[in-house]
Subunit: 198 residues, 2 copies
Amino acid sequence: MAVDPLRELCDLLARLPGVGERTAQRLAYHVVRQSPDYARALAQALLGVVDGVRTCSRCQALTAVEPCAICGDPQRERGVVCVVANPQDIASIEATGEYRGLYHVLHGVLSPLEGIGPEEIRARQLIARLPGEPPVREVIVATPASVEGEATALYLAGLIRPLGIAVTRIAFGIPMGGEIEYADKLTLARALGGRRPI
Amino acid sequence: MAVDPLRELCDLLARLPGVGERTAQRLAYHVVRQSPDYARALAQALLGVVDGVRTCSRCQALTAVEPCAICGDPQRERGVVCVVANPQDIASIEATGEYRGLYHVLHGVLSPLEGIGPEEIRARQLIARLPGEPPVREVIVATPASVEGEATALYLAGLIRPLGIAVTRIAFGIPMGGEIEYADKLTLARALGGRRPI
């Protein structure tokens, strides 16, 4: 008996993160109700990503061109590198419109429990590009505020500071619009510890 | 400048129901991290659905074969037809293991506000198949408990009852394991109205 194409699509969709069997079914039926052009375009985009996306040899971000659009942009400030854990973090920082430097994607954070050590994150590639033309003068570590993100930041600082390059950490504290009353203890402690003169 | 394949994939995924821009991005990056085989299989499944799925000429369910597996199954009881609003409802009812009859998919419910009248749901096809071989003796209406679902049930009953065929409605009431205390007023009223001798 032939494989049921709908069943097949459901099974594959259910392997996406946050997509259970029910959601997968809902998505599959939605695709069927759309014009065939939509499913064809989505199939094409999936193949395009497989064939067309690699990591930038400089910043390790995902890109279709080499070097990536940001590394290849002559307008970007080349003396500053912002280190992020995941490729998607770049889009969030870019959306602020506040940052004009370069990036470096680690593709993970140190996590001994999960067996992710210094060799599993792309820290070596970061160190290798610091003495560039022009050399990097500041590395901003924007790994998350988790235990692993903090450990990764400290690890990188230990490697980079001896090279005479400034290492900074993004600020953590009360989010904008956040009420002091409802802030959790850790965030509030961090906000107090990170206080600055007005 | 070439189109960015990742951007393209994100934009298409964001058109799925319940998938916002953030989720689309998370899904797209997930696909990139997987082996290329996954993206290829998913692309293939999407094309398979476009080319291979049509509506069964008898019950209007989505199917890759004609007639669909249920209509073509000689073991199913052919004198009973369960009417559902959407194709995916069939899977839920089949999962109970309690129903051995046939189905009919309306592909919608009556909704004057959205311009969905009797001609937009597949009611005509239902009426046409009732005097079959053997003729249908009971139509179970399993449209949802919404205003539209109820109106659709009443509309169908008005068409079918004059033909001398029994029309029944699935039961609505307190769900299994549900606490009376937390049931909403409408459900509780429905449960009282639908009471049966023990």
